[in-house]
Symmetry: C2
Subunit: 125 residues, 2 copies
DNA sequence: ATATTATATGAGCAAGTATTCAAATGTTAA
DNA sequence: TTAACATTTGAATACTTGCTCATATAATAT
């Protein structure tokens, strides 16, 4: 169905890149939504794209937990966990509350976990 | 609602980590699903967690395209695009077909794009 | 055959990042 | 006050990764 677009049209002068399908590029360019949205998405996915962080999110999906319990559960140092929790908090994926010496972390937004659950379904296909 | 679990229970001998909430850890451990699923999810999200790759996926969501058109559209070298398309193909997110010298890439799986769309909604909130 | 073109690929580099280690902060207990 | 403890933080290190550059491959055209 894209057959009729194959009309070689080589070498735009404005760009070192050869362009074959001017019409498709034109059409797709129009639909290229705000690049900052895509950048924000990349940042969001970057947070999910790490073994330690995804295990943290998965654990917190079950229950609010404090730092040292998370460290024990994941078999990692408390420092490493704390660093990652900081990143997750900056990304607004988790929130925390303090009770005495202990800091409890929980998911900031159930809505975000829909993405998690959907991806979970996918990798199980 | 988790108040009654705060029963300090310090220093498991088996681990250098202090454990405060044994019962929560026990409960969460049971629900810690297969770690390989989480690893696969991290790998999947890693593919989405890059500006170039997410722009490629977004472009291919509009239309099948060849390498040089994608390079032109994103304003990047053909080599850089080709490297990233290889990663996306390894992750089974895109597929390609060859027609003469030209290689056309397209999304491998519409289902995966649900994750994309959901994240897109989220960053727009 | 030779040249041109579209794409792929390997090596190298620069930038980013996850973890460790040591030290700092803040809270509770003695 | 001092000691113990949960957590945070900064610097250093090891590892990963995205891009460039040069070259290789494969198809077409001359």
């Amino acid at each position: 169905m894209i057959k009729e677009n194959i009309v070689p049209n080589t070498c735009e002068e404005t760009c070192s890149q050869t362009v074959i399908h001017k019409d498709i590029i034109q059409k797709v360019s129009e639909h290229m939504s705000d690049e900052t949205n895509l950048d924000n998405m990349a940042e969001l996915f970057k947070m999910f794209g790490d073994r330690t962080r995804i295990r943290l999110l998965h654990a917190l999906y079950q229950s609010e937990m404090c730092v040292c319990d998370l460290a024990y559960l994941l078999g990692m140092t408390q420092s490493a966990i704390s660093h990652q929790l900081r990143l997750l908090k900056q990304a607004k994926l988790v929130k925390n509350r303090k009770e005495g010496k202990v800091v409890y972390y929980s998911l900031a937004d159930r809505h975000v976990m829909q993405i998690f659950v959907q991806a979970f379904d996918h990798v199980q296909e």
